[in-house]
């Protein structure tokens, strides 16, 4: 039948999770914010209920990224717990969201959500600013299902404030047809044959983590010298004309169009792109890559801490979580997901970018919690290369 269309492909088109979350949500919002300026951000915040003395909400209000949820998942929770959920996809960009909520949080005013899903670094920032409620583990017995590495992650040992939602790799994406060979590690980025067709992330941690590892530095306790060493290498390659662009999430279209042959990439994006272009591959560099984790946090202005914890507990049930993963196609944060995933979606269970084997997980590390001062110092040093 010539008109037969792979239903998985259709599902991807329909969900289009990664590209909306990482690509449109990131780059278009960033572009819009860049063009329209902070006034745009301020305007965005005005309609989202940042006000003060609101009446108590009778539903659990959740703020998540666009298309980061499976169909009927919310309904399943509502039916089981008898709690009404007001589910909003109003997280587009960590920094934009932070700009929106920081003022009310400082004044201890309701931000219109009882649970939000920022990326780890943002969760750490919120916690350091004292904006988060401590999670009551008595209400979240399923937290034992978390991957041990995430449960004891140095950013939040024991997961007192932030509960991982989805995880992904930061590695290298490449176009096998354009490179003509397999890409193995960071050295391949500097191959003169790829001059001007390589991109790095403009985000400090996502960009520098794997480069530092390739230089033998560890990111467990990053010091200024090792970060600077990585930045110096990037500057040297930039001055040679090796690096075409420093990208946000907008490397994807250049990689698909062939303008880039090797790019620092997020695993979920590549899973997405592979559906259209099987030549695009993703690897974690031999010397190691990094991971990112989006986490569920409860702002201390919440009106329904118990309900938010019930929600986390519901997500941490492996059978429920498998439905979520099969739809959003990121890496599970729960351990031993293979069986449950295979029941729902055998294809996803076999995809190493969704259900990575232990060796692969072992090659990827997460950044530790950096202090504001550290992060600012690293950001400034790296921006001197990317912005100049």
């Amino acid at each position: 039948m010539p008109n037969e269309i792979d239903p998985r492909f259709l599902a991807r088109l329909a969900s289009n999770r990664t590209s909306r979350r990482r690509f449109i949500g990131g780059s278009a919002a960033a572009a819009a914010a860049a063009v329209l300026g902070p006034a745009f951000l301020a305007a965005c915040s005005s309609d989202s209920g940042g006000g003060g003395d609101e009446e108590a909400s009778d539903s659990l209000r959740i703020s998540n990224w666009p298309a980061y949820m499976a169909p009927d998942f919310v309904k399943g929770f509502q039916d089981k717990e008898g709690i009404t959920v007001d589910y909003k996809e109003d997280l587009n960009d960590n920094e934009e969201w932070f700009a929106k909520v920081k003022e009310p949080l400082q004044r201890k005013q309701d931000i219109g959500s009882d649970l939000a899903v920022p990326t780890t670094f943002m969760a750490v920032r919120l916690q350091q600013l004292g904006f988060l409620s401590e999670l009551n583990h008595a209400n979240i017995p399923n937290i034992d299902n978390l991957r041990p590495d995430l449960l004891e992650a140095s950013v939040d040992p024991g997961r007192k404030f932030s509960a991982p939602y989805m995880s992904g790799f930061v590695g290298l994406g490449y176009n096998r047809a354009a490179t003509g060979r397999d890409i193995k590690g960071i050295d391949d980025l500097w191959d003169p044959a790829f001059k001007g067709r390589v991109s790095l992330f403009s985000d400090t941690q996502d960009a520098l983590g794997m480069i530092m590892m390739s230089q033998g530095s560890s990111i467990d306790k990053p010091d200024e010298a090792s970060v600077q060493k990585a930045i110096d290498l990037v500057r040297e390659e930039k001055d040679k004309g090796q690096i075409r662009r420093f990208t946000g999430n907008d490397y994807l279209d250049d990689l698909a169009a062939g303008n880039l042959v090797v790019a620092q990439a997020y695993s979920g994006d590549v899973v997405q792109l592979q559906a259209d272009n099987p030549d695009v591959q993703f690897i974690i560099p031999e010397s190691g890559g990094t991971t990112f984790v989006d986490t569920m946090v409860i702002p201390n202005t919440t009106q329904h801490q118990d309900w938010a914890e019930k929600w986390i507990n519901y997500i941490y049930d492996r059978a429920n979580y498998a439905k979520l993963v099969s739809f959003v196609q990121y890496i599970p944060v729960l351990s031993d997901m293979t069986d449950e995933l295979a029941k729902v979606d055998p294809e996803a269970a076999k995809n190493p970018l969704i259900n990575p084997p232990k060796e692969m997980l072992a090659k990827a590390k997460g950044w530790p919690a950096l202090s504001d001062e550290q992060l600012q110092k690293f950001n400034t040093a790296y921006a001197a290369v990317t912005g100049a």
Partner: protein, 273 residues
């Protein structure tokens, strides 16, 4: 009578400029992500801005000057034709000139990425006729950025030129003919001088936004083509070093102001604007 205008200028011009100037001389204190600005006559922000980013500042003005000159060269004949030769097609051509600008700036710029792509037909066509080396590219070069600036701002050259040419009394041109002037002489002696207000206004309307532009450099450029606008944007939104960003903005503004004053002097157009 002028109170509303004064209040408007006070709120939307004077106050923001003062606030920007204050920020540019401040030192950031408090927590990194919830900074508090402390005014401290910190002129170090300015010396830092110059020493770190002089390349970007120079590049921005170079790109803006090239773009302005090319816009002028391309727009003058077009405006001339619309004003004098188009006849009943005048409104149609004007409409066509304006038409692309119904589509948003961002979309039009991103469209050029597709057109100029490394594997696109423009690059291969130019390569085939030997205008580009085989491994050459258009996207992510200075030429793409300058091209983007020209494309995006040329309408601000065409329209003032058209207006000033269209205003010229045709009887003046007839008079030159009556006095046996050649076409060239009537152009250089009558039409060109009378169109100078358009040249002046058009150049400023192209040059000023082009010098501060960052969209073209970020979508069509590479790591070698960053402009001062990109640096300011990054300092404000990513690094969140507001004093440095404000100092760079002030530097950009002052240089443009000085340039415009010099340009006004050179053209002697005080009485034309």
């Amino acid at each position: 009578m002028i109170a509303p205008a004064l209040i408007y200028l006070g709120i939307f011009f004077v106050w923001p400029i003062i606030s920007l100037a204050m920020t540019s001389l401040s030192t950031a204190g408090g927590s990194v992500f919830l900074p508090t600005m402390k005014f401290s006559w910190n002129f170090g922000n300015y010396t830092d801005a110059f020493s770190h980013y002089q390349d970007q500042i120079l590049r921005s003005f170079l790109y803006a000057i090239v773009a302005t000159v090319v816009c002028l060269v391309l727009a003058y004949p077009l405006a001339y034709v619309i004003a004098f030769k188009a006849g009943r097609y005048k409104n149609l051509i004007l409409g066509l000139v304006i038409l692309p600008f119904f589509v948003t700036f961002l979309i039009r710029t991103i469209a050029w990425k597709t057109i100029l792509a490394d594997d696109g037909w423009v690059v291969s066509a130019l390569g085939a006729v030997g205008l580009l080396p085989s491994d050459g590219r258009l996207l992510s070069t200075s030429w793409a950025v300058i091209g983007g600036l020209i494309y995006n701002w040329i309408i601000f050259m065409i329209l003032p030129l058209y207006v000033s040419l269209e205003k010229i009394d045709p009887r003046l041109i007839e008079a030159t003919k009556d006095l046996y002037s050649s076409n060239t002489r009537s152009f250089t002696k009558v039409i060109m001088p009378l169109s100078m207000p358009g040249v002046f206004a058009g150049s400023l309307l192209v040059f000023i936004p082009a010098a501060g532009d960052f969209i073209n450099a970020s979508y069509l450029g590479s790591t070698q083509t960053t402009m001062i606008g990109n640096v300011i944007q990054q300092q404000f939104l990513v690094v969140k070093d507001y004093p440095a960003a404000a100092a760079l903005s002030m530097v950009l503004m002052v240089i443009i102001l000085v340039g415009v004053l010099a340009y006004t002097r050179a053209l002697g157009t005080e009485d034309l604007v």
